[in-house]
Structure formats: C-alpha cells, structure tokens
Amino acid sequence: MVGVALKQVKKSYGNHEVLHGIDLNIDPGEFIVFVGPSGCGKSTLLRVIAGLEEMTSGELRIGGRLMNDVPPAKRGIAMVFQSYALYPHMTVYDNMAFSMKIAREKKAKIDARVRQAAEILQLTPYLNRLPKALSGGQRQRVAIGRAIVRNSEVFLFDEPLSNLDAALRVATRIEVAKLKESLPDTTMIYVTHDQVEAMTLADRIVVLKDGCIEQVGTPEELYREPTNLFVAQFIGSPAMNLLAARIEETGPKTLIAYANGTRMQVPVLTPASAKGAAVDIGVRPEELRITEGEHIFEGVVDYAEYLGEVQLVYFKTEDEAHPFIAKLPGNVHVERGARLKLGADAESLHVFDVEGRAFRGLDGAGSEEAERASVAATILEK
C-alpha cells in the first residue's frame, strides 16, 4: 500500500499559474475524489500526479519516493481516461495486454493477468472484439481493466463516467465502488465535476477552486461543516440558500436577526468582535419546512418541480439568477403564486462572515480549536 503526498505543488502555463501550491496527503488505500467547477485545476493536478504534466515547483512523493523526475510509466500508477483512450485497432485482449507486452513479460503471465482482470470486470466474452464493437459501459470497463492489468498501487481516474448516459453512469459508478472494495490496497484518485459521484465514492473529497484547495474532508464533513461559502454551495444539490442577516449577540450561541425581523439563536461560536457584523445565513433546501410560526423566509412560489417523493419549490427573489429553493415533501400541495413561510431548525443553519468563511459550532470545530475559541469569546465578551 502506498500513499501520495503533494507539497507546495505549483503548475504554470507561461505566466498563468493554474495550481497555487497544493499541499495534500493521500493515505495508502484511500479513495480520494478531486471535485470542483470547470477550470479549477482538478484534471491538471491529476495529470501532474500521473507525470503527464510537469510541475513548475513543489514535491510529489508516491510511497515516500520523490517522483518529480520519474517518467509516468515508472511511477507505479495506472490511469483511466475520460475518453477511454482505447487503442481502436487492437482487440480488448491486446488493449489490456499492451503494457505487459511493452514490458516484455512472459506470454503465460500476460494471459493469466488479462484473463483475471477480464473475469473481475465480466469482459471475458468480449476479449476478441475490437473496441468499436463494444458499448460505452463495456469500453469503460476495458479502460479500467487495462489499469488493473498493470498491477499498479495507485489508480487515477479522470472523469471516467462523463461520457456515459445517466443510467449507465449509475451502474458503472457502482462497479467502480465494488472495484475499490475488491482492491482495498490500491490508492485511488478520482476526478469528477459530478458531486453525486464524489459523495458516493469518496473516502475523502478534495474541493478545488481556481487552483487552490478549499476543503478536504469526508463527504459528510463537507456537507455538514463546510468551511466556507464556496464549499457550502458546491456540495449539495440544489445548492445551499443564502439569507442576509446581522449578528446581534455573540458567544457559543449566536443570536442573529434576519432582514425580515426574525431573531434566532444559532449554535455557532462567534467572537465578540463579530457583534453587529453582517453575515450570510446558509440553509440547505432539504432543511426547510413550511411553517405558520417563526420563519426565516417568506416568498411567492415561482414554480415547482415535482420529483415524486419530493418536490423542488422555487421562490422569487430580487436576484433572479439565484432563486430560493426548498425541497419539500411530494405530498404537500404547492400552488404557483402562493405565498409561503419557511422555517428551519437552528442546528441546520450555517453562518458565514462577509469574506465567506464559516463560523463553526462547538461540535464542528476541533476540540482544541473549540475550547480556544470559547475562551476567546468569553474573554472578549467580558
């Protein structure tokens, strides 16, 4: 089992820096997913690890060994490409055997390894076919098989499911998850822009934006305790709603006042210096409920998307590009044009300062950090 460590990895194209000093430790046997919007540098980072792009500065270690100047084939890694990158003139067997043939392995060994990989991926009946005679899902399995045959300790996946249709994507995603289970010693690094893939597959997710890491954590950590506004809005679908508010009282429980006059105590730790500060309150659509009592949002239903079990209800806001969305039960009748009041539990709310950084609850912060913040908040208040 080998881990991957990146230290201050930078990558520039001419004067344009696309990776701004990435520090990341990937544990041996871990399934880590790089996620982020287009152009955030996730594929570039993967290609730097693969050796297909040279880093401008920094250190890359695989299994503790410095890999900066080691050619891709000798890094002990295998890569599955977005477009499969199968050799179209070779059969499935030859595609999978190619790396071993190049390494001049014995025929019997090649045959055994290819057939074993084909068995795992249920490709045995297709070994003599050309890639053009396979479906998209089968081609992707061949691409994965090619990686398995190389017997590498690190697998890299570059958006491997993005060329598949929705149904096949789900099926192949499950296959990738099973593959990880069957190869527990293999470290897997997976790039995607699809957060469902990220959430379902990853042991840990790395959220990237503009060539910087925004947050690293388990899927649940990212969902429950985003460290900033970008992560909060990127993880979760539909995205987290934001409401303008002001801090009235600080401390281990913060009293906030919404623009509509509602006051609410939120279990979030804020320093005394934050008193009176404008903040953004984040609330996930699935945490909202219709209420007649204390509410945090009141609005007119613009339209509703019925999805069966649930429905997505869009409310008109001043900013037309960002409607307020509530995920309500499917059995609630919602009429277009109706005026509704929405409430949410204080525990489900996230508070972000003007720079987009999250104030953390005492549970969310690390114990040492929480204690320090609590003491600091108390001292400041006194």
Binding site: A50, L52, P71, P72, A73, K74, I77, A78, M79, F81, Q82, S83, A85, L86, Y87, P88, H89, F98, S99, I102, A103, R146, R150
Partner: protein, 286 residues
C-alpha cells in the same frame, strides 16, 4: 379535401426529385463514358491490326488475339514494368515512412521550433522539379548516382515527401492525444507509440498516400528521362516513347503497350478507391 391539398406538394416534390435524379444519373453516366471510353478504346485497339484501326477505329475487333500484347511485352515492356515497379515500390515505402515519421514529430512530440520545421517541410511543395533539374543532374553525377535506380528513388521520395507529410499530418492532428498519453502510461517509448499505436491508426491515409505516390511515380516522365539512359534503367513512360519511336507505324503494338502500362494503376485505383476517398476525407475534412 384536406388530403388532396396535402398530397399535391408531396407529388410535386417527388417529380422534381425524380427529374433531378435522372439529370444527375445522366451527367454521371456521361462523365463515366468520357473517362472510361478512351481506356476501353485503347485496350480494344490492342486487339486489332493497323488496317482495322484505320479502317474502322470505333468497331469491336473481329477476332480477339493477344498477339499484340505478347509482342509489346516481349519487345521491352516487360523490362520497363520491372524497373517501374521497383522504383515505384521503393520510393513509395521511403516516402510514406519518412513522411509519417515527420508528421508524427510535427504533431505528437515535444519538438522545439515545430512551426519552423513545418514551414521548411511544406515549403518543398513550392519547389518546381523543372527548375531544380540542372543542379540535380550535376549533383547526382558528382555523387555517382546518375543512371541508377537510386537517382529516381531519391528524387521521387524527395519531391513527394512535403505533400505526403501534409496529408498525414492533417490526419494525425485529428487523432486524440489521450492515445499517446495512455501509451506513455503503459510504458511505450516514442518509437513504440509511433509503430504500434499511431501508424496502424493512420492506415486509411497511408493507403491514400501510397496510391497518390504510385500514380505520380508510375507516370513520371521528366526525371526518368533525364536521370536514366540505358534500356535496363528505363521506366514505362520513357519506354513507351521509345516503343512509339521504334514501332511508330505499328499502332496496335503501341496501343497494347499503353494498355499494359495503364492496367496496374487502374486495378490499384479501383481496388482501393474506398480507402483512398476515406483517407483523404478523414484527414482534412474534420
């Protein structure tokens, strides 16, 4: 009522479609006749004698005798065909290999100064063989290559490399770079990437380039006439003029010799035309 109103335009459209199709077919048939008939006429006259050729030039032969073809074959055409085949095959292999390697370097390697190399290679397209003739003769004489097969092989290769590189490069530009990256990850060297991945994938354009080269070198006249002199070094186009000079009045032998010389090209073209069109279209069109 409604149905007749909707049916009328459909009927009109189908009439116009039929008429335009008929015109198209007539045009293509005429074009086919214009191209094929001279070849058939030439082949047919190879079966006649002089009296029949001049008496009724467009009639079918009265009896089908291979005598003229045999005579033409024995009176030099055999040797010319051998020389032509040798020069054509050797120069085609050299041209395609050099061009494919060059195109690979220009499209799929981290070669510094690629645009300059590209300009130099494609600049060769503008070089006229006629202008370069005298310096080339001097050079080949100095190198001891004058009146050798090598003279023609080198010249045909040198003058076809720019255009062939241009075609193969256009095709290679369309091949996804992920294939190279996948091969690199699999441990393939640059040479292995070329021989085992990229070159096999370029088969359609390679076939097109070979056909184009065969058409050129099989029919090439000026270099063949200037750079070779002995009968054992004569290619078909030069040999045919010699036959015409020798059998100037025996047209049936001349027609038979011309038919024999044209036959391989016609066969190659018809056998590989699908490849030929696909290769050219895929390379440049996308």
């Amino acid at each position: 009522m409604v149905s007749t109103e909707t049916a009328a335009p459909v009927k009109e459209t189908s009439i116009w479609t039929a008429v335009s199709k008929a015109f198209l077919w007539s045009f293509l048939i005429c074009l086919g006749i214009v191209v094929v008939y001279p070849l058939l006429w030439m082949a047919m006259n190879g079966f006649k004698n002089n009296v029949q050729i001049f008496g009724d030039p467009f009639a079918l032969p009265t009896h089908w005798s291979w005598q003229n073809y045999v005579r033409a074959w024995n009176q030099g055409v055999r040797d010319y065909v051998v020389v032509s085949v040798l020069v054509t095959v050797a120069s085609a292999i050299c041209t395609v290999m050099i061009s494919a390697w060059t195109a690979f370097g220009l499209t799929r390697s981290k070669l510094p100064g690629k645009p300059i190399v590209l300009i130099v290679v494609l600049g060769g397209l503008m070089l006229s063989p006629t202008v370069a003739l005298i310096p080339l003769v001097k050079m080949f004489q100095a190198l001891g290559l004058y009146n050798t097969f090598w003279a023609l092989i080198i010249l045909y290769t040198a003058f076809r490399v720019p255009f062939t590189t241009f075609l193969i490069r256009a095709y290679m530009l369309d091949l996804p770079s992920e294939l190279d990256e996948a091969a690199t990850m699999d441990g393939a060297s640059e040479g292995q990437r070329f021989w085992r991945i990229i070159l096999p994938m370029c088969r359609p354009i390679i076939a097109s380039c070979i056909i184009l080269h065969v058409l050129f070198s099989w029919n090439e006249y000026i270099f063949a006439m200037v750079f070779t002199s002995g009968t054992d070094m004569t290619t078909l186009p030069v040999g045919l003029t010699a036959i015409m000079a020798k059998h100037g009045t025996d047209y049936s032998v001349v027609f038979a010799a011309m038919t024999i010389s044209a036959l391989p090209i016609v066969i190659i073209f018809f056998a590989t035309q699908r490849y030929f069109i696909r290769g050219l279209a895929e390379g440049i069109g996308k």
